[in-house]
Symmetry: C2
């Protein structure tokens, strides 16, 4: 039977362990989804992703819509077959990228017209088209098209934007209801409303009234101070239904994930582990390290002694430093393997600590060690 179930609740915090059953397999939550923008998690083969124990990855509708095009992917059997990934995939709606990457955006009630950042061609996205693309990709979790207001924005702007986002959510849900082959697939709504409590409240009520299979919190980690993000996150999660999965979009750093899990968030995605890997920044339980540094020149130790990833079991920091400076492709590969595994192992340990009713202790111990030595990212 498909669906989401909370398996265990922490007795001291709002953290929870859950299970989401999809057409492509089960996902244990809280979970982190490595980002596979262009039908590949950058630098990794699907085999390496599985060795990192990835349960689900994220694909970007905007990118796949522009290249190679969803029709082509559909023709080739869907995104799973195209990229040879047989586990679950969540796709965003493309909205975020339209507003951050493309030019000449013209937003109307109907949808958004924009210029492709690849070839300048005119494209159009609407709630219905965003769904159509995601249906063509056959992703397990589809997101509704929304507008993510930049930070900071005025009350009036956010309010207006929210009216549109809610309208679009309604239309997206209607289109979803008319979609075929929804078994083991889910549509999530996205809570916007900027950093304004009243508007977040309104957004949440409206989405719940429409009724989605899961709820995402969007519009955070867009440049606001961390204290504001934590505050908004705190009340936003509280208003969400207990029995549906909750997804905090585009977040984040290990400390943010721990905070969000504590508030009851189930799902995360972020480019941090993959992008920073390519820039030479590696995550460890003792804080991040920058593999470029002179101090690792003769360092025979693995990135992290306790890590079970291919990189840590086989290569020294000195070798990784060399690969980085020599601009070798293998540098990106090995660094990405480690960082992705770091994030997924963190989520494993979080789930275990919830299972064993010791999430707070885990969080405290983790942050004590991690913050002591971490470089500023």
């Amino acid at each position: 039977m498909f669906g989401f179930k909370v398996i265990k609740k922490d007795n001291k915090t709002k953290a929870r362990k859950g299970l989401l059953k999809t057409a492509h397999g089960d996902i244990e939550t809280p979970i982190f989804m490595p980002v596979g923008t262009q039908a590949t998690v950058k630098a990794l083969t699907p085999k390496q992703l599985k060795e990192c124990q990835a349960q689900i990855i994220l694909g970007n509708t905007y990118h796949l819509f522009l290249r190679p095009g969803h029709e082509i992917i559909k023709h080739l059997g869907g995104l799973h077959k195209f990229m040879n990934w047989d586990r679950p995939i969540l796709t965003d709606s493309g909205g975020y990228q339209v507003f951050s990457l493309s030019e000449l955006r013209k937003i109307t009630d109907e949808g958004v017209e924009f210029k492709s950042h690849l070839d300048g061609s005119k494209k159009f996205l609407s709630p219905e088209i965003a769904l159509e693309i995601q249906n063509a990709l056959n992703s397990d979790i589809v997101m509704v098209l929304d507008e993510c207001p930049p930070y900071p924005s005025t009350y009036d702007y956010i309010n207006l934007s929210l009216t549109l986002t809610t309208k679009w959510a309604k239309r997206a849900r209607k289109a979803w209801n008319f979609s075929v082959e929804k078994d083991g697939r889910y549509q999530f709504g996205i809570v916007q409303g900027g950093m304004i409590k009243e508007l977040r409240r309104k957004a949440t009520s409206e989405l719940i009234e429409i009724g989605f299979d899961g709820y995402a919190i969007g519009g955070l980690s867009v440049g606001e101070p961390k204290s504001i993000m934590y505050e908004v996150l705190g009340y936003s999660v509280e208003w969400l239904p207990e029995d549906k999965p909750r997804y905090l979009m585009g977040v984040g750093k290990p400390e943010d994930i721990l905070f969000a899990v504590e508030q009851g968030v189930d799902m995360f995605d972020c480019v941090l582990p993959t992008r920073n890997a390519r820039n030479g920044q590696l995550f460890t339980r003792n804080g991040t390290i920058n593999i470029k540094r002179e101090e690792y020149k003769l360092d025979e130790k693995p990135v992290e002694e306790e890590c079970d990833c291919y990189t840590c079991r086989n290569f020294s920091r000195a070798y990784l430093r060399h690969l980085f400076h020599a601009k070798e492709i293998l540098s990106s590969v090995l660094n990405t393997i480690h960082n992705v595994r770091f994030y997924l192992k963190l989520m494993e340990d979080i789930r275990k600590s919830i299972e064993e009713q010791r999430f707070s202790e885990f969080k405290r111990d983790f942050l004590n060690k991690y913050n002591k030595n971490s470089e500023v990212i």
Copy 2:
């Protein structure tokens, strides 16, 4: 017992199957050595290299000397441990790169002074230093320092260069004889002499008189017409001792390898499979294909139906085309896996055909299919 043995001779050609036992394992010849310039075969993990059935790889002394430095690699336990490759490694002497990559070369009897292409610092290489570096790397097969004359060069230039190369070879052998830990390791001399038969003859005699564990043919595939290369190769191999391995440096295309095997060559290296992979050119038994092309946009077939590599067993041409156009790292990874496997499978089939006394037929059938459709590389 270490050493080289010819296991089987083809009864119609000079092709031969052999076995070279080294400190890091056995190599079946004829063999192709993927190039691992900077302590990595570009884009591949050692695990992927093994899945491609690589038996031995080549490392570049020049590059490792400049970065990270052989002292560092020695400190870290040698090149095998540094890059986590426990099978045999052959290293060149650095000479070829000094003459092709660096600036401000000053050649004296003593050695060659040059400027690093990385930071402009002055460096010095001599026959003894080239060996010292390779001993520090602990490579299984070390090459003597030589000068590779550019093509075309005058008789006088080549003759003068050869005098130096022979002097250096003598000194390199002397230094080798004083080296410790030579068990299961080999030093190869390099035949130069340009495209001049008389000088090639002279070079060969002088090297044989010094006495090496194997002999390389250098100075080919440097811009000369293919007919000249084939002619020089033909007589150069003939003069080499039967009981020592023969290595044709920096060659080449599948058709060149087949021709050289027919002349009795045992070992090959070339950047073609790895470099061309990164440029989107893939080798198949039906000729090369350029994965960039529009015609592969919807092509669900693997690169090569019969290929047993990870890429062919899991991904379509359409996907590989997408990755190439999207400039994804995975494009280089998957293409390299295929091309390296193609070369190594070709060598497997060559060995098998020699074993079964049908090398000529194999060569003919291979080239018939391969040449019919191959794009010009």
